[in-house]
């Protein structure tokens, strides 16, 4: 496996399992499109367009990738099947790399920041709470002391859901009653983490559609209130995106970034039939790295995003 050797075999297999569908249905088509052709013609580019669009890459990014490939074809004159295949991979990897997607190598936190505060945001039903449970598991496994904050005080039983995760993973959860002020929960959590000398704080927030102005303002407030305890908190604002979401994910990234300066992305439900191409599109338009991917419902089913492995797995 060469440069991927730091990935255990299990991890790779899990990701393969999750991406199996993607590979066979989408990029499998590309091989067919290219097979038997000695150079890139309009037909191949058309098929390439179809493949990218059906992976939710979006018109804009698809055109950008195709332009890049066309430019290379014009420059290098002749392109064979295998060359095109690797060029496509390279272009996608490069798009991701430009935004540091997949630079992380471990469930680690930057040195010198304690506690490291992560605030998790996203629209309804993308898997924020589940992702937090998995993150807590991984940080704990890496020897960190973790505290969770149940600041989704709106959705019915959201606090209970996080508490159950807390029990599963055996980390403390700071919570108030349903309907209480989420900013106050966040404040309490950070304060408690400081006094407990925790390493990582993860704040859950209620799902909200990004076009609800008042709810977006609430996020800004939660963030501001935490800064009363730790001036530069939250250090990480993690936007959770559902892999099955289409072009609206771009708008989500835009609005959440505007409200809270999102600086990391998690892509969930990649174990389904959804293609995950949305990551490429978002990495292209926003300069936010993809950090994590969710590939199942178990607490082990969260991985660090690795751009090369990700693209490799698509083309395997």
């Amino acid at each position: 496996m060469g440069i991927f050797s730091f990935f255990s075999k299990d991890k790779k297999q899990d990701l393969d399992k999750g991406l199996e569908k993607t590979r066979s249905s989408v990029f499998g088509k590309l091989s067919k499109a290219i097979a038997g052709k000695s150079k890139v013609d309009d037909e191949v580019l058309d098929q390439l367009e179809e493949i990218l669009v059906t992976s939710d890459v979006g018109v804009h990014t698809t055109l950008k990738i195709i332009e890049r490939i066309e430019a290379r074809v014009a420059r290098d004159k002749y392109l064979g099947t295998s060359e095109l295949n690797s060029i496509l991979k390279e272009e996608i990897v490069e798009l991701l790399q430009e935004n540091n997607s997949g630079d992380g190598t471990d469930f680690d936190i930057p040195a010198g920041i304690k506690p490291y505060v992560i605030m998790v945001v996203g629209v309804n039903g993308v898997g924020k709470t589940t992702t937090i449970g998995k993150l807590a598991y991984n940080f704990k496994k890496a020897g960190k002391k973790v505290v969770l904050g149940a600041a989704d005080t709106f959705r019915a039983a959201a606090v209970d859901q996080l508490k159950i995760w807390g029990q599963r993973v055996d980390v403390p959860v700071v919570a108030q009653t349903m309907g209480s002020d989420p900013a106050s929960v966040a404040f309490d959590t950070v304060k408690s983490a400081v006094s407990q000398q925790a390493d990582v704080v993860i704040i859950d927030t209620a799902g909200r559609l990004h076009n609800k102005i008042n709810l977006m303002k609430e996020l800004t407030k939660i963030k501001t209130v935490m800064q009363k305890v730790i001036a530069d908190a939250p250090h990480e604002i993690l936007l959770v995106l559902d892999a099955s979401t289409g072009q609206n994910a771009i708008e989500q990234a835009r609005q959440f970034t505007a409200a809270t300066e999102v600086n990391a992305l998690a892509l969930t439900k990649l174990d389904g039939t959804a293609k995950g191409g949305v990551v490429i599109g978002i990495s292209d338009q926003f300069k936010i790295p993809v950090k994590y991917i969710g590939i199942g419902e178990r607490m082990e089913d969260l991985q660090l995003f690795d751009r090369k492995l990700f693209v490799e797995s698509l083309f395997d």
Binding site: V53, G58, N124, G125, R155, W165, N248, G272
Partner: protein, 444 residues
């Protein structure tokens, strides 16, 4: 990021001016724009392609009337075709059987539990049914608690079986319980599952086999992208569901998935979820969805919607009042309510030609009227009739009663007098003025 399709079409059809009919050559560029717009709206790639081919056939050779521009004609063809594809008619939920059994299915996070409770609330309050909700999601932490809380909110009993990991058994027991307690409707919430999860798909097929539901609803997130076709097809292959529920439509997604699903499984969309509150459920309007996917300004649709909501007699009365300068807060309130009934304010304003562009980057909140309503509701009937009564102490009382401030009350009174002025101007075409009013509301 989206540019309204109608704007794009107008542009690409500029060159058409002076030509008598739509031809193969002049339609190509336009169809490309249509296809891109559909894909941007998350319509499946293949369906977008098929769709544009159909539109092309319909458009070729159409005479361009002098009354409408070629762009408008094209927009109309696209819109009509899309609305047709969406299913011309609304389809009601099937409530045969006693109790009628409704099974809810879908992916994780699509909004099944919220929808189940909303549906219970709808059937209870609008159809007078005795409803039993069944907590069949035994996997996700606190999913059962979530349904319990929501059931309590809407005043509907929730059947649960603590510790059970057998949704089939739970469903069967729930139905027996429903029969005993004289319930008319049983709504079975289930766990979210991926279409490729064989074990879980077997489970829901087993629930279907054992309870023989009268209605199976597939719940899908309206923000779903290209995967919508695969998932809908897989669920339909296993469950042969009766209808589709489109959730989170209060977001700003174009909702192209609706078209993809409709085309691929040919099942009607029966409900749309439009908010987190328990009454935020609406039946599905194909034509409205067509507008939304295209993001097009459509004055015809505005007129239709306005006709739907405005009582002609009511309107005549109002006009007389405005003319006589007797427009009061009761009328104002009525107007607000009518506007609200017509749907999203921004969408509505976007239908007025020229406004779409102006509003593209502005934000109008759905609850923009909430404060205004609260203030008017805090006025006495006499004050509503005669705004001139509103002196300082009355305004102070109204501010307290509505939970607002005197500044806000003052602002409303000022807005009100401007609105009545504007309404008198409207006949002379006061679009600019209306824009300014909308801006003021937004800034509140």
């Amino acid at each position: 990021m989206f540019e309204g399709l109608s704007e794009k079409l107008e542009r690409s059809f500029k060159m058409l001016k002076g030509q008598g009919h739509i031809s193969e050559i002049n339609v190509a560029e336009t169809l490309k724009e249509v296809r891109k717009a559909l894909i941007d709206a998350d319509v499946s790639f293949k369906i977008a392609k098929d769709f544009t081919n159909t539109v092309k056939e319909k458009a070729l050779g159409q005479k361009i009337l002098t009354a409408v521009s070629p762009g408008q004609l094209m927009v109309k063809i696209v819109h009509d075709e899309l609305a047709e594809l969406m299913g011309g008619e609304q389809t009601e939920i099937n409530l045969k059987g006693n109790p009628s059994i409704i099974l809810i299915a879908g992916l994780q996070g699509s909004g099944k539990t919220t929808f189940s409770a909303k549906l219970a609330n709808y059937l209870k309050s609008k159809k007078g049914k005795q409803v039993l909700l069944v907590a069949g999601d035994v996997y996700r932490p606190a999913a059962i608690d979530q349904l319990k809380v929501l059931g309590e909110q809407v005043g509907v009993e929730v059947f649960t079986e603590d510790g059970s990991k057998d949704p089939v058994g739970i469903a069967k027991k729930a139905i027996a319980h429903a029969k005993q307690s004289a319930k008319n409707v049983v709504i079975i919430d289930t766990a979210g599952r991926l279409a490729i999860d064989e074990l879980m798909m077997n489970e829901i097929a087993a629930i279907k086999k054992n309870v023989d539901p009268h209605e199976i609803l597939f719940v899908v997130d309206s923000m779903t992208g290209q995967d919508a076709v695969n998932t809908a097809k897989a669920f339909n292959d296993r469950l042969d569901f009766h209808g589709v529920v489109l959730t989170k439509l209060d977001g700003d997604t174009r909702g192209g998935a609706a078209l993809s699903i409709r085309s691929v499984v040919d099942k009607p969309i029966k409900f749309v979820g439009i908010g987190e509150k328990m009454d935020a459920l609406d039946v599905f309007y194909p034509s409205r969805m067509a507008d939304r996917i295209l993001g097009m300004g459509d004055i015809v649709s505005l007129v239709e919607k306005a006709q739907e909501q405005f009582d002609a007699e009511e309107a005549r009365k109002l006009q007389r009042k405005i003319a006589k300068n007797e427009f009061n807060f009761n009328d104002f309130l009525k107007q607000i309510q009518q506007i609200k009934k017509m749907g999203n304010i921004k969408d509505l304003a976007g239908m007025i030609p020229g406004m779409g562009k102006a509003l593209k980057d502005t934000e109008i909140e759905d609850d923009a009227f909430k404060g205004i309503e609260a203030i008017i509701y805090s006025m006495t009937p006499a004050e509503r009739e005669d705004p001139k009564l509103l002196n300082g102490s009355r305004r102070k009382r109204i501010a307290m009663g509505s939970g607002t401030s005197i500044v806000e009350v003052n602002r409303l009174v000022k807005q009100f007098s401007e609105t009545s002025k504007m309404m008198r101007m409207m006949t002379g075409g006061g679009g600019q003025k209306m824009m300014r009013m909308m801006n003021q509301m937004r800034r509140r």
